[in-house]
Amino acid sequence: MRPSDFLVIPFDEWINIFVRGWLVPNFRPFFRAVQVPITQVLNGLDAVLAFVPMLAITAIFAALAFKYVGRGMAIFTIVGFFFIDMIGLWPETMTTLSMIITAVLFCCVIGIPLGIVAARSDLVWKFARPMLDVMQTIPSFVYLVPIVMLFGVGMAPGIIATIIFALPPIVRLTNLGIRNVRADLVEAAEAFGSTPLQMLFDLQLPLAMRTIMAGLNQTLMLALSMVVIAALIGGGGLGLVVNTGLGRLDVGGATAGGVGIVILAIVLDRITQGLGEQSKVKTVSLRQTLISMFRPGANAPAETGKVAP
């Protein structure tokens, strides 16, 4: 004897009815409209990255790695990007890069304000938290189907799937960072008559910046890990290379795509981590930034007490 002898719940039927019978027919135009800004940003980025010469992009990334991480990372960036170009995957890598940047950009635009609101209101956080848990734990294949039904196939739906998967860390860590700002500092700001907005921009965001940057780093990494899956619903780039290799049992092709993703991941991870470390320091002017970019010794070690490795 078991419960199903008495009651069988047609859960899958309900979902089918909900999605196919109600959500898709009623909201398809809405969802179509939603993806317009994503497509625009993506196309713009893609055009820029395709237009800028490979050497220039490598130089920019190497300079960033040099400034925020160190000489070793700059060398790795140059060698890694040259390797990608030499195995013939540079255009695909740029497509993937533009997808990731787009996804992370929208994650920030949605996630940071959401995190701020969640930090301000326990009620919002109470509702947001289980949703973030679901977004992080539900297997991404599950929502690929409704995404295809609502948005169709292509780059933009792939990015939307990536956003769903990669959004939680930045919301969580923005919330955490703001909540962790010392209570006596918040009280002091309040005692001087700060409005909530003044408090946010003068105190909470600057002091939470390190944590928010850690969230950004996590979001970026999750976005990278979605590249292959997003390729299943029409996202191009390195994910497509891997998928094609998988389909054709072309172990070489799949590995090449995988290596490209790994190199990109390492470079982006280290640079954003370095950014997070940096934001502990007071904001530097553009001139100082430029100087410290060209003079390793001037990389503000005296002020931070830390020497770049």
Binding site: R182, D184, L185, E187, A188, A189, E190, A191, F192, G193, S194, T195, Q198, D202, L203, P206, L207, K282
Partner: protein, 416 residues
């Protein structure tokens, strides 16, 4: 002087049902029964007091006595459950958030126990914070913050980060931040509690020095009675959320309202609370022209004194002791010795406001101490015995036993 702050029946109850607890409290139930019945904690219970313009009003109590809650209600950081707070006639307890913000920006600044400096801003930006919030233009903001830093002697550190400064310096920044907006009322929540004793002494003196020129109305919270007695024009002592006594330092030390206050003041350094004025008596005087050693002996015998002061017109000429006057009188036989011959011209003197602790040296000479006003006119004398009697805590007693006196006098002197 008009009362700057009027606080009436100010009550704060923490817990799930403050309104119900307030009703019970007003009906006269005790804190403990209210907590048992409703689960509400009474933080501050019907505190009422007025603070005059330009006064330092100290609220003193142990941790948990509700003093921090009290001061946070004064600028609305904690919303009172009942009662009223009037600053210049405006009720802080019942105003809109916008009014409250305006009051915080214009009138009431606060200095915190753990400094609460913003770690990502430089010292001068910290000092300028209140001005920034008020919307003062950057140039003027900087200028005024720099002036505030000058006041506390930190202008050289304007560009440092707070974390580069010592605790005492950090609290000076906290004070500068409070003063920069030129508030009328300054709330100080145990500002020196986190500092080392020597540095604390420094900043206390600094505060008194500043207050002489600034004349702010200051509400100062402390758990240190000596600090309260040193700084407070008036002092409120709190226990379990209630104000048990309000008065000047001397009121509280000489007339404790109950055993709790008495136990507190038992250990304090009375030499720093009482001044020469409080123990001075009417002087017995002779005139330099005319009076003789014999007159001196008679005066002293009549008034039961060990020495008398001699005036030359209005000015003090010197002091004559009984031994010298009597000896001169005996030796000379019948002829009268002019008083100038037996007079000691090197007499001890003090201002009415001199603390007893500074009279120990004078008192040990055995001569009565001349209390003089600003024009160097004799307004009273302090008998050495009176100093020690006041220190021993029993001014009614004429002569205190010598042994504890020596201890009392030696300890603070050694501690310094």
């Amino acid at each position: 002087m008009a009362a700057k702050l009027k606080i009436k029946n100010l009550t704060k109850i923490f817990g799930p049902s403050p309104a119900e607890a307030l009703k019970r409290l007003r009906a006269g139930e005790s804190k403990a029964t209210i907590f048992e019945a409703t689960g509400n904690t009474v933080g501050v219970n019907s505190a009422s007091f007025d603070v005059e313009q330009g006064q330092i009003f100290v609220v003193m109590g142990l941790s948990g006595s509700g003093k921090s809650t009290l001061v946070r209600m004064l600028n609305g950081l904690i919303k009172p459950t009942g009662g009223s707070i009037h600053i210049d006639g405006e009720d802080i307890a019942a105003c809109s958030p916008a009014t409250l913000r305006r009051v915080r920006r214009e009138k009431v600044a606060m200095v915190f126990q753990h400094f609460a400096l913003f770690p990502h801003m430089s010292v001068i930006d910290n000092a300028a914070y209140g001005l920034k919030i008020k919307g003062v233009a950057p140039d003027e903001r900087r200028e005024r913050a720099q002036a505030a830093l000058d006041q506390v002697g930190l202008s050289a550190h304007a560009e440092s980060k707070p974390s580069d400064l010592s605790g005492g310096m950090q609290q000076r920044v906290g004070l500068a931040r409070g003063l920069a907006t030129d508030p009328e009322v300054l709330l100080m929540d145990e500002p020196f509690g986190a500092l080392d004793p020597l540095i604390r002494r420094d900043v206390q003196d600094e505060l008194l020095r500043l207050q002489k020129t600034l004349k702010k109305t200051i509400i100062f919270i402390t758990h240190d009675l000596n600090e309260a007695l040193l700084l407070g024009d008036r002092i409120a002592i709190m226990k379990d959320g209630e104000v048990v006594q309000i008065g000047t330092a001397q009121d509280i030390v000489s007339q404790p309202a109950n055993d709790y206050v008495a136990a507190f003041v038992a250990d304090i350094d009375r030499g720093r609370v009482f001044t020469a004025e409080t123990v001075a008596v009417e002087p017995a005087v002779l005139q330099l022209d005319g009076d003789t050693a014999g007159d001196a002996v008679r005066t002293m015998e009549e008034q039961n004194r060990g020495a008398v002061y001699v005036l030359d017109g209005e000015q003090i000429a010197g002091v004559v002791t009984y031994q010298q006057a009597a000896a001169a009188d005996r030796e000379s036989g019948t002829s009268d010795v002019p008083i100038a011959e037996v007079m000691i011209t090197d007499y001890p003197s003090a201002d009415p406001g001199t603390q007893l602790v500074d009279l120990y040296g004078h008192a040990s000479t055995g001569l009565p101490i001349a209390v003089t006003d600003a024009d160097n006119k004799l307004v009273g004398v302090v008998e050495p015995e009176a100093v020690f009697a006041q220190l021993s805590g029993d001014p009614a007693q004429d002569e205190a036993p010598p042994a504890p006196l020596a201890d009392d006098a030696a300890q603070p002197a050694a501690a310094r």
